[in-house]
Symmetry: C2
Subunit: 252 residues, 2 copies
Protein backbone atom coordinates (compact mmCIF):
# COMPACT_ATOMS: atom_id res chain seq x y z
CA UNK A 1 0.00 0.00 0.00
CA UNK A 2 2.89 2.28 0.71
CA UNK A 3 3.84 2.03 -2.95
CA UNK A 4 0.47 3.48 -3.79
CA UNK A 5 1.19 6.45 -1.61
CA UNK A 6 4.75 6.93 -2.78
CA UNK A 7 3.59 7.36 -6.33
CA UNK A 8 5.05 4.09 -7.57
CA UNK A 9 1.85 2.13 -7.61
CA UNK A 10 3.08 -0.49 -10.06
CA UNK A 11 6.10 -1.37 -7.95
CA UNK A 12 4.37 -4.43 -6.45
CA UNK A 13 3.74 -5.68 -9.96
CA UNK A 14 7.38 -5.31 -10.92
CA UNK A 15 8.43 -7.06 -7.72
CA UNK A 16 6.06 -9.89 -8.34
CA UNK A 17 7.16 -10.44 -11.91
CA UNK A 18 10.84 -10.17 -11.07
CA UNK A 19 10.32 -12.97 -8.59
CA UNK A 20 8.97 -15.15 -11.37
CA UNK A 21 11.55 -14.43 -14.03
CA UNK A 22 14.63 -12.24 -14.04
CA UNK A 23 14.07 -8.68 -15.25
CA UNK A 24 16.67 -6.15 -16.29
CA UNK A 25 16.66 -2.68 -14.80
CA UNK A 26 15.30 -1.31 -18.08
CA UNK A 27 12.51 -3.87 -18.05
CA UNK A 28 11.55 -2.93 -14.52
CA UNK A 29 11.47 0.69 -15.53
CA UNK A 30 9.22 0.07 -18.48
CA UNK A 31 6.86 -1.87 -16.24
CA UNK A 32 6.72 0.99 -13.77
CA UNK A 33 5.99 3.45 -16.52
CA UNK A 34 3.09 1.52 -18.01
CA UNK A 35 0.17 3.89 -18.45
CA UNK A 36 -2.38 3.21 -15.75
CA UNK A 37 -5.08 4.63 -13.58
CA UNK A 38 -5.48 3.91 -9.90
CA UNK A 39 -8.95 3.28 -8.53
CA UNK A 40 -10.37 2.64 -5.13
CA UNK A 41 -13.38 0.37 -5.44
CA UNK A 42 -15.97 -0.90 -2.99
CA UNK A 43 -16.46 -4.52 -2.04
CA UNK A 44 -18.47 -6.56 -4.53
CA UNK A 45 -17.72 -4.22 -7.42
CA UNK A 46 -17.60 -6.09 -10.69
CA UNK A 47 -14.33 -5.63 -12.52
CA UNK A 48 -15.34 -7.78 -15.45
CA UNK A 49 -18.61 -9.46 -16.34
CA UNK A 50 -18.81 -12.69 -18.28
CA UNK A 51 -19.05 -11.87 -21.98
CA UNK A 52 -17.65 -8.35 -21.69
CA UNK A 53 -15.16 -7.12 -24.19
CA UNK A 54 -12.31 -6.09 -21.93
CA UNK A 55 -9.93 -3.33 -22.92
CA UNK A 56 -7.72 -3.29 -19.87
CA UNK A 57 -5.93 -5.45 -17.36
CA UNK A 58 -6.39 -4.97 -13.65
CA UNK A 59 -3.77 -5.34 -10.96
CA UNK A 60 -4.99 -5.80 -7.42
CA UNK A 61 -2.99 -3.49 -5.18
CA UNK A 62 -4.88 -4.24 -1.97
CA UNK A 63 -7.85 -6.37 -0.99
CA UNK A 64 -9.30 -9.60 -2.34
CA UNK A 65 -11.11 -10.58 -5.51
CA UNK A 66 -12.46 -13.71 -7.11
CA UNK A 67 -13.32 -15.10 -10.51
CA UNK A 68 -16.48 -17.05 -11.11
CA UNK A 69 -18.90 -18.49 -13.61
CA UNK A 70 -22.64 -19.01 -13.37
CA UNK A 71 -24.12 -22.21 -14.78
CA UNK A 72 -27.33 -22.41 -16.77
CA UNK A 73 -29.08 -23.54 -13.61
CA UNK A 74 -27.96 -20.41 -11.84
CA UNK A 75 -25.31 -22.02 -9.64
CA UNK A 76 -22.10 -20.12 -9.11
CA UNK A 77 -18.67 -21.68 -9.18
CA UNK A 78 -15.81 -19.60 -7.90
CA UNK A 79 -12.76 -20.42 -9.96
CA UNK A 80 -10.04 -18.61 -8.09
CA UNK A 81 -9.42 -16.19 -5.27
CA UNK A 82 -6.94 -13.35 -5.68
CA UNK A 83 -4.94 -11.45 -3.14
CA UNK A 84 -3.11 -8.14 -3.13
CA UNK A 85 -0.30 -7.91 -5.65
CA UNK A 86 -1.80 -10.31 -8.16
CA UNK A 87 -2.70 -9.76 -11.78
CA UNK A 88 -6.40 -10.35 -12.10
CA UNK A 89 -7.01 -10.78 -15.75
CA UNK A 90 -3.92 -10.91 -17.83
CA UNK A 91 -5.70 -13.26 -20.18
CA UNK A 92 -7.88 -10.42 -21.36
CA UNK A 93 -4.92 -8.83 -23.08
CA UNK A 94 -5.08 -11.55 -25.68
CA UNK A 95 -8.49 -13.12 -25.18
CA UNK A 96 -10.47 -9.94 -24.82
CA UNK A 97 -13.94 -11.46 -24.63
CA UNK A 98 -14.27 -12.48 -21.00
CA UNK A 99 -15.30 -16.06 -20.38
CA UNK A 100 -15.97 -15.47 -16.70
CA UNK A 101 -16.73 -12.75 -14.18
CA UNK A 102 -14.37 -11.00 -11.83
CA UNK A 103 -15.59 -9.36 -8.65
CA UNK A 104 -14.12 -7.79 -5.55
CA UNK A 105 -14.52 -9.52 -2.21
CA UNK A 106 -13.42 -6.46 -0.25
CA UNK A 107 -12.83 -2.79 -0.77
CA UNK A 108 -9.71 -2.59 -2.89
CA UNK A 109 -7.21 -0.45 -4.68
CA UNK A 110 -6.53 -1.48 -8.23
CA UNK A 111 -4.36 -0.30 -11.08
CA UNK A 112 -5.93 -0.47 -14.51
CA UNK A 113 -3.64 -0.76 -17.55
CA UNK A 114 -4.92 -0.60 -21.14
CA UNK A 115 -4.44 -3.97 -22.74
CA UNK A 116 -2.86 -2.40 -25.77
CA UNK A 117 -0.07 -1.05 -23.61
CA UNK A 118 0.69 -4.50 -22.30
CA UNK A 119 0.48 -5.97 -25.77
CA UNK A 120 2.98 -3.42 -27.03
CA UNK A 121 5.27 -3.93 -24.08
CA UNK A 122 5.51 -7.68 -24.41
CA UNK A 123 6.48 -7.36 -28.05
CA UNK A 124 9.15 -4.84 -27.17
CA UNK A 125 10.49 -6.57 -24.07
CA UNK A 126 10.73 -10.35 -24.31
CA UNK A 127 11.86 -10.67 -20.71
CA UNK A 128 8.65 -9.07 -19.55
CA UNK A 129 6.65 -11.28 -21.85
CA UNK A 130 8.27 -14.26 -20.24
CA UNK A 131 7.46 -13.04 -16.75
CA UNK A 132 3.82 -12.41 -17.62
CA UNK A 133 3.67 -15.79 -19.20
CA UNK A 134 5.06 -17.50 -16.13
CA UNK A 135 2.47 -15.70 -14.05
CA UNK A 136 -0.25 -17.11 -16.31
CA UNK A 137 1.27 -20.57 -16.03
CA UNK A 138 1.09 -20.47 -12.26
CA UNK A 139 -2.50 -19.32 -12.45
CA UNK A 140 -3.20 -22.31 -14.63
CA UNK A 141 -1.46 -24.65 -12.19
CA UNK A 142 -3.82 -23.42 -9.49
CA UNK A 143 -6.84 -24.03 -11.72
CA UNK A 144 -5.64 -27.57 -12.27
CA UNK A 145 -5.42 -28.18 -8.56
CA UNK A 146 -8.91 -26.82 -8.14
CA UNK A 147 -10.23 -29.27 -10.72
CA UNK A 148 -8.82 -32.03 -8.53
CA UNK A 149 -10.17 -30.43 -5.39
CA UNK A 150 -13.76 -30.24 -6.53
CA UNK A 151 -13.59 -33.37 -8.64
CA UNK A 152 -12.08 -35.93 -6.34
CA UNK A 153 -11.86 -34.81 -2.73
CA UNK A 154 -14.51 -35.12 -0.06
CA UNK A 155 -15.95 -32.12 1.69
CA UNK A 156 -13.50 -32.08 4.60
CA UNK A 157 -10.52 -32.22 2.32
CA UNK A 158 -11.87 -29.57 -0.03
CA UNK A 159 -12.35 -27.06 2.71
CA UNK A 160 -9.08 -27.86 4.39
CA UNK A 161 -7.32 -27.60 1.05
CA UNK A 162 -8.54 -24.13 0.24
CA UNK A 163 -7.67 -22.94 3.74
CA UNK A 164 -4.13 -24.24 3.21
CA UNK A 165 -3.80 -22.67 -0.20
CA UNK A 166 -4.93 -19.23 0.83
CA UNK A 167 -2.77 -19.32 3.92
CA UNK A 168 0.37 -20.13 1.95
CA UNK A 169 -0.36 -17.59 -0.74
CA UNK A 170 -0.92 -14.85 1.80
CA UNK A 171 2.23 -15.89 3.58
CA UNK A 172 4.26 -15.79 0.37
CA UNK A 173 2.93 -12.31 -0.25
CA UNK A 174 3.97 -11.27 3.26
CA UNK A 175 0.37 -10.62 4.24
CA UNK A 176 0.16 -12.87 7.27
CA UNK A 177 1.71 -12.58 10.70
CA UNK A 178 1.77 -15.71 12.80
CA UNK A 179 -0.66 -18.47 12.03
CA UNK A 180 -3.84 -16.53 11.46
CA UNK A 181 -5.37 -14.63 8.61
CA UNK A 182 -8.56 -12.89 7.65
CA UNK A 183 -10.45 -14.75 4.98
CA UNK A 184 -12.97 -12.21 3.74
CA UNK A 185 -15.40 -14.70 2.26
CA UNK A 186 -18.86 -15.67 3.42
CA UNK A 187 -19.46 -19.35 3.90
CA UNK A 188 -21.58 -19.22 0.80
CA UNK A 189 -18.66 -17.91 -1.22
CA UNK A 190 -16.41 -20.53 0.29
CA UNK A 191 -18.99 -23.13 -0.69
CA UNK A 192 -19.04 -21.85 -4.25
CA UNK A 193 -15.28 -22.13 -4.34
CA UNK A 194 -15.21 -25.77 -3.28
CA UNK A 195 -18.38 -26.98 -4.99
CA UNK A 196 -20.46 -27.57 -1.86
CA UNK A 197 -23.41 -25.87 -0.18
CA UNK A 198 -22.96 -23.24 2.46
CA UNK A 199 -24.76 -25.42 4.97
CA UNK A 200 -22.27 -28.17 4.48
CA UNK A 201 -19.27 -25.86 4.55
CA UNK A 202 -20.55 -24.62 7.87
CA UNK A 203 -20.61 -28.12 9.26
CA UNK A 204 -17.16 -28.91 7.95
CA UNK A 205 -15.64 -25.75 9.40
CA UNK A 206 -17.21 -26.56 12.72
CA UNK A 207 -15.78 -30.04 12.63
CA UNK A 208 -12.31 -28.87 11.67
CA UNK A 209 -12.43 -26.49 14.61
CA UNK A 210 -13.72 -29.15 17.01
CA UNK A 211 -10.87 -31.41 15.99
CA UNK A 212 -8.38 -28.66 16.69
CA UNK A 213 -7.08 -28.17 13.16
CA UNK A 214 -8.19 -24.56 13.00
CA UNK A 215 -10.03 -22.04 15.10
CA UNK A 216 -12.29 -19.30 13.91
CA UNK A 217 -13.44 -15.91 15.05
CA UNK A 218 -15.74 -14.21 12.59
CA UNK A 219 -13.80 -14.45 9.37
CA UNK A 220 -10.36 -14.88 10.75
CA UNK A 221 -8.92 -18.33 10.50
CA UNK A 222 -6.18 -19.47 12.86
CA UNK A 223 -4.17 -22.51 11.86
CA UNK A 224 -3.92 -24.60 15.01
CA UNK A 225 -2.31 -27.70 13.54
CA UNK A 226 -0.71 -27.10 10.17
CA UNK A 227 0.45 -30.68 9.76
CA UNK A 228 -2.95 -32.19 10.29
CA UNK A 229 -4.68 -29.51 8.25
CA UNK A 230 -2.37 -30.21 5.33
CA UNK A 231 -2.93 -33.90 5.69
CA UNK A 232 -6.70 -33.69 5.84
CA UNK A 233 -6.65 -31.28 2.90
CA UNK A 234 -4.34 -33.59 0.93
CA UNK A 235 -2.31 -30.46 0.39
CA UNK A 236 0.97 -30.47 -1.48
CA UNK A 237 2.16 -26.97 -2.16
CA UNK A 238 4.22 -27.85 -5.18
CA UNK A 239 1.52 -26.65 -7.53
CA UNK A 240 1.89 -23.10 -6.21
CA UNK A 241 5.42 -22.94 -7.65
CA UNK A 242 6.51 -20.46 -5.04
CA UNK A 243 10.12 -21.45 -5.61
CA UNK A 244 10.08 -20.73 -9.30
CA UNK A 245 12.27 -17.68 -9.14
CA UNK A 246 14.94 -19.68 -7.38
CA UNK A 247 17.37 -20.09 -10.21
CA UNK A 248 15.51 -21.77 -13.00
CA UNK A 249 12.46 -20.59 -14.84
CA UNK A 250 14.39 -19.28 -17.73
CA UNK A 251 16.27 -21.35 -20.19
CA UNK A 252 19.38 -19.64 -18.94
Amino acid sequence: MSAILTGRPLAPLAERLARLSPLSEAERESLLSLPHTIRTLAASTHIVRDGDRVESCTILLSGFAYRYKITGEGARQIISVHIAGELLDLQHCFLPIADHGLQLLTDANVAVVPRQAIGDLVLAAPGIARAFWVDSLIDAAIFREWVVNVGRRNSRARVAHILCEIFLRLQAAGLVRGQRYILPMTQEQLADAVGLTSVHVNRVLKQLAEEGLISRDRRTIAIEDWGRLKRTGDFNERYLHHDVGGGLGAAT
Copy 2:
Protein backbone atom coordinates in the same frame (compact mmCIF):
# COMPACT_ATOMS: atom_id res chain seq x y z
CA MET B 1 0.28 -36.68 -40.18
CA SER B 2 1.43 -36.03 -43.69
CA ALA B 3 3.69 -33.34 -42.31
CA ILE B 4 5.48 -36.02 -40.35
CA LEU B 5 6.19 -37.88 -43.54
CA THR B 6 7.15 -34.84 -45.55
CA GLY B 7 9.91 -34.03 -43.16
CA ARG B 8 8.26 -30.93 -41.74
CA PRO B 9 7.03 -32.44 -38.54
CA LEU B 10 6.66 -29.15 -36.70
CA ALA B 11 4.46 -27.63 -39.40
CA PRO B 12 1.26 -28.39 -37.45
CA LEU B 13 2.70 -26.51 -34.50
CA ALA B 14 3.47 -23.48 -36.63
CA GLU B 15 -0.04 -23.61 -38.10
CA ARG B 16 -1.60 -23.85 -34.71
CA LEU B 17 0.33 -20.94 -33.28
CA ALA B 18 -0.21 -18.77 -36.33
CA ARG B 19 -3.93 -19.24 -35.84
CA LEU B 20 -3.60 -17.87 -32.30
CA SER B 21 -1.42 -14.90 -33.00
CA PRO B 22 0.07 -13.52 -36.23
CA LEU B 23 3.53 -14.83 -37.06
CA SER B 24 5.98 -13.44 -39.58
CA GLU B 25 7.55 -15.69 -42.15
CA ALA B 26 10.83 -15.59 -40.23
CA GLU B 27 9.05 -16.57 -37.04
CA ARG B 28 7.42 -19.52 -38.75
CA GLU B 29 10.79 -20.60 -40.04
CA SER B 30 12.42 -20.46 -36.67
CA LEU B 31 9.59 -22.54 -35.25
CA LEU B 32 10.07 -25.15 -37.93
CA SER B 33 13.76 -25.31 -37.28
CA LEU B 34 13.46 -25.86 -33.54
CA PRO B 35 15.65 -28.79 -32.57
CA HIS B 36 13.46 -31.79 -31.94
CA THR B 37 13.21 -35.52 -32.02
CA ILE B 38 10.23 -37.43 -33.33
CA ARG B 39 9.02 -40.44 -31.39
CA THR B 40 6.31 -42.99 -31.90
CA LEU B 41 4.98 -44.08 -28.55
CA ALA B 42 2.52 -46.74 -27.46
CA ALA B 43 -0.78 -46.07 -25.76
CA SER B 44 -0.53 -45.40 -22.03
CA THR B 45 3.10 -44.34 -22.21
CA HIS B 46 3.90 -41.74 -19.58
CA ILE B 47 5.30 -38.57 -21.04
CA VAL B 48 5.72 -36.89 -17.68
CA ARG B 49 5.22 -38.13 -14.15
CA ASP B 50 4.14 -35.91 -11.30
CA GLY B 51 7.22 -34.51 -9.62
CA ASP B 52 9.57 -35.11 -12.52
CA ARG B 53 12.05 -32.49 -13.52
CA VAL B 54 11.17 -31.98 -17.16
CA GLU B 55 13.76 -30.88 -19.67
CA SER B 56 11.65 -30.85 -22.79
CA CYS B 57 8.30 -29.92 -24.18
CA THR B 58 6.19 -32.39 -26.10
CA ILE B 59 3.99 -31.68 -29.10
CA LEU B 60 1.34 -34.24 -29.91
CA LEU B 61 1.47 -34.90 -33.64
CA SER B 62 -1.13 -37.64 -33.68
CA GLY B 63 -3.25 -39.45 -31.11
CA PHE B 64 -4.66 -38.46 -27.75
CA ALA B 65 -3.20 -37.73 -24.33
CA TYR B 66 -4.40 -36.57 -20.95
CA ARG B 67 -3.12 -34.86 -17.86
CA TYR B 68 -4.02 -36.07 -14.40
CA LYS B 69 -3.30 -35.95 -10.71
CA ILE B 70 -3.69 -38.63 -8.07
CA THR B 71 -5.06 -37.65 -4.67
CA GLY B 72 -3.74 -38.91 -1.37
CA GLU B 73 -6.61 -41.37 -1.28
CA GLY B 74 -5.52 -42.79 -4.61
CA ALA B 75 -8.30 -41.29 -6.71
CA ARG B 76 -7.37 -39.99 -10.13
CA GLN B 77 -8.64 -36.74 -11.57
CA ILE B 78 -8.09 -36.16 -15.24
CA ILE B 79 -7.46 -32.48 -15.77
CA SER B 80 -7.50 -32.20 -19.53
CA VAL B 81 -7.61 -34.23 -22.69
CA HIS B 82 -5.34 -33.37 -25.60
CA ILE B 83 -5.71 -34.02 -29.28
CA ALA B 84 -3.35 -34.07 -32.23
CA GLY B 85 -1.63 -30.78 -32.88
CA GLU B 86 -1.65 -29.57 -29.30
CA LEU B 87 1.22 -28.59 -27.07
CA LEU B 88 1.17 -30.92 -24.12
CA ASP B 89 3.32 -29.28 -21.55
CA LEU B 90 4.46 -25.85 -22.45
CA GLN B 91 4.39 -24.95 -18.79
CA HIS B 92 7.37 -27.17 -18.18
CA CYS B 93 9.57 -24.75 -20.08
CA PHE B 94 9.30 -22.37 -17.17
CA LEU B 95 7.96 -24.49 -14.33
CA PRO B 96 10.17 -27.50 -14.85
CA ILE B 97 9.06 -29.50 -11.82
CA ALA B 98 5.90 -31.21 -13.02
CA ASP B 99 2.88 -30.79 -10.79
CA HIS B 100 0.87 -33.45 -12.61
CA GLY B 101 1.26 -36.46 -14.85
CA LEU B 102 0.86 -36.68 -18.59
CA GLN B 103 0.01 -39.93 -20.30
CA LEU B 104 -0.97 -41.11 -23.76
CA LEU B 105 -4.47 -42.41 -24.36
CA THR B 106 -3.55 -43.93 -27.72
CA ASP B 107 -0.50 -44.77 -29.74
CA ALA B 108 0.91 -41.45 -30.82
CA ASN B 109 3.59 -39.57 -32.65
CA VAL B 110 5.16 -36.79 -30.70
CA ALA B 111 7.85 -34.20 -31.26
CA VAL B 112 10.08 -33.50 -28.30
CA VAL B 113 11.78 -30.11 -28.06
CA PRO B 114 14.38 -29.26 -25.40
CA ARG B 115 12.92 -26.64 -23.10
CA GLN B 116 16.04 -24.55 -23.38
CA ALA B 117 15.46 -24.19 -27.14
CA ILE B 118 11.99 -22.85 -26.52
CA GLY B 119 13.21 -20.56 -23.77
CA ASP B 120 15.82 -19.13 -26.12
CA LEU B 121 13.37 -18.76 -28.95
CA VAL B 122 10.81 -16.82 -26.98
CA LEU B 123 13.43 -14.34 -25.87
CA ALA B 124 14.58 -13.89 -29.45
CA ALA B 125 11.17 -13.80 -31.08
CA PRO B 126 8.51 -11.88 -29.15
CA GLY B 127 5.81 -12.78 -31.65
CA ILE B 128 6.38 -16.44 -30.94
CA ALA B 129 6.37 -15.79 -27.22
CA ARG B 130 3.01 -14.16 -27.60
CA ALA B 131 1.63 -17.09 -29.55
CA PHE B 132 2.83 -19.61 -26.98
CA TRP B 133 1.42 -17.46 -24.25
CA VAL B 134 -2.00 -17.30 -25.94
CA ASP B 135 -1.92 -21.06 -26.23
CA SER B 136 -1.32 -21.31 -22.48
CA LEU B 137 -4.13 -18.86 -21.85
CA ILE B 138 -6.59 -20.98 -23.78
CA ASP B 139 -5.43 -24.04 -21.88
CA ALA B 140 -6.17 -22.16 -18.69
CA ALA B 141 -9.61 -21.15 -19.93
CA ILE B 142 -10.39 -24.82 -20.43
CA PHE B 143 -9.21 -25.66 -16.91
CA ARG B 144 -11.53 -22.97 -15.57
CA GLU B 145 -14.47 -24.47 -17.38
CA TRP B 146 -13.59 -27.86 -15.97
CA VAL B 147 -13.63 -26.46 -12.45
CA VAL B 148 -17.20 -25.38 -13.14
CA ASN B 149 -18.06 -28.69 -14.73
CA VAL B 150 -17.00 -30.86 -11.84
CA GLY B 151 -17.91 -28.30 -9.19
CA ARG B 152 -21.42 -27.28 -10.11
CA ARG B 153 -23.01 -29.47 -12.75
CA ASN B 154 -24.92 -32.70 -12.23
CA SER B 155 -23.79 -35.96 -13.76
CA ARG B 156 -25.82 -35.67 -16.99
CA ALA B 157 -24.53 -32.20 -17.67
CA ARG B 158 -20.94 -33.11 -16.88
CA VAL B 159 -20.87 -35.95 -19.33
CA ALA B 160 -22.74 -34.05 -22.02
CA HIS B 161 -20.38 -31.12 -21.54
CA ILE B 162 -17.22 -33.08 -22.09
CA LEU B 163 -18.70 -34.75 -25.16
CA CYS B 164 -19.48 -31.30 -26.56
CA GLU B 165 -16.05 -29.95 -25.78
CA ILE B 166 -14.13 -32.76 -27.36
CA PHE B 167 -16.37 -32.73 -30.41
CA LEU B 168 -15.79 -29.04 -31.02
CA ARG B 169 -12.06 -29.26 -30.44
CA LEU B 170 -11.71 -32.16 -32.83
CA GLN B 171 -13.82 -30.31 -35.35
CA ALA B 172 -11.69 -27.18 -35.05
CA ALA B 173 -8.63 -29.33 -35.65
CA GLY B 174 -10.24 -30.81 -38.75
CA LEU B 175 -10.27 -34.26 -37.18
CA VAL B 176 -13.94 -35.03 -37.49
CA ARG B 177 -16.09 -35.78 -40.50
CA GLY B 178 -19.81 -35.50 -40.05
CA GLN B 179 -21.24 -35.72 -36.58
CA ARG B 180 -19.28 -38.60 -35.17
CA TYR B 181 -15.89 -39.06 -33.60
CA ILE B 182 -13.82 -41.66 -31.86
CA LEU B 183 -13.33 -40.91 -28.20
CA PRO B 184 -10.50 -43.22 -27.18
CA MET B 185 -11.25 -43.21 -23.47
CA THR B 186 -12.60 -45.96 -21.29
CA GLN B 187 -15.63 -45.11 -19.22
CA GLU B 188 -13.36 -45.12 -16.22
CA GLN B 189 -11.15 -42.45 -17.78
CA LEU B 190 -14.22 -40.48 -18.72
CA ALA B 191 -15.38 -40.78 -15.13
CA ASP B 192 -12.05 -39.51 -13.86
CA ALA B 193 -12.36 -36.54 -16.18
CA VAL B 194 -15.78 -35.51 -14.91
CA GLY B 195 -15.40 -36.47 -11.25
CA LEU B 196 -17.83 -39.39 -11.22
CA THR B 197 -17.56 -43.18 -11.04
CA SER B 198 -17.39 -45.31 -14.14
CA VAL B 199 -20.61 -47.05 -13.17
CA HIS B 200 -22.43 -43.78 -13.09
CA VAL B 201 -20.90 -42.56 -16.34
CA ASN B 202 -22.12 -45.75 -17.93
CA ARG B 203 -25.65 -45.04 -16.79
CA VAL B 204 -25.52 -41.45 -17.98
CA LEU B 205 -24.21 -42.42 -21.41
CA LYS B 206 -26.95 -44.97 -21.71
CA GLN B 207 -29.55 -42.40 -20.79
CA LEU B 208 -28.19 -39.80 -23.21
CA ALA B 209 -28.38 -42.42 -25.94
CA GLU B 210 -31.92 -43.50 -24.99
CA GLU B 211 -33.04 -39.91 -25.16
CA GLY B 212 -31.58 -39.56 -28.63
CA LEU B 213 -28.91 -36.98 -27.87
CA ILE B 214 -26.07 -39.26 -28.92
CA SER B 215 -25.53 -42.76 -30.12
CA ARG B 216 -22.57 -44.99 -29.41
CA ASP B 217 -20.76 -47.86 -30.98
CA ARG B 218 -17.76 -48.99 -29.02
CA ARG B 219 -15.88 -45.80 -28.48
CA THR B 220 -17.28 -43.78 -31.29
CA ILE B 221 -19.75 -41.12 -30.32
CA ALA B 222 -22.28 -39.82 -32.82
CA ILE B 223 -23.97 -36.54 -32.05
CA GLU B 224 -27.63 -37.10 -32.82
CA ASP B 225 -29.03 -33.83 -31.49
CA TRP B 226 -26.40 -31.16 -31.06
CA GLY B 227 -28.84 -28.57 -29.77
CA ARG B 228 -30.16 -30.74 -27.00
CA LEU B 229 -26.72 -32.09 -26.15
CA LYS B 230 -25.40 -28.56 -25.77
CA ARG B 231 -28.37 -27.61 -23.67
CA THR B 232 -28.14 -30.56 -21.35
CA GLY B 233 -24.39 -30.02 -21.05
CA ASP B 234 -24.88 -26.31 -20.34
CA PHE B 235 -22.29 -25.86 -23.03
CA ASN B 236 -21.19 -22.44 -24.23
CA GLU B 237 -18.19 -22.69 -26.49
CA ARG B 238 -16.93 -19.21 -25.79
CA TYR B 239 -14.34 -20.52 -23.36
CA LEU B 240 -12.61 -22.42 -26.15
CA HIS B 241 -11.70 -19.12 -27.83
CA HIS B 242 -11.66 -20.72 -31.24
CA ASP B 243 -12.18 -17.34 -32.84
CA VAL B 244 -9.17 -15.74 -31.24
CA GLY B 245 -7.12 -15.51 -34.39
CA GLY B 246 -9.91 -13.63 -36.06
CA GLY B 247 -8.44 -10.18 -35.96
CA LEU B 248 -7.73 -9.40 -32.34
CA GLY B 249 -5.48 -11.12 -29.88
CA ALA B 250 -2.62 -8.78 -30.42
CA ALA B 251 -2.60 -5.21 -29.41
CA THR B 252 -2.36 -4.35 -33.07
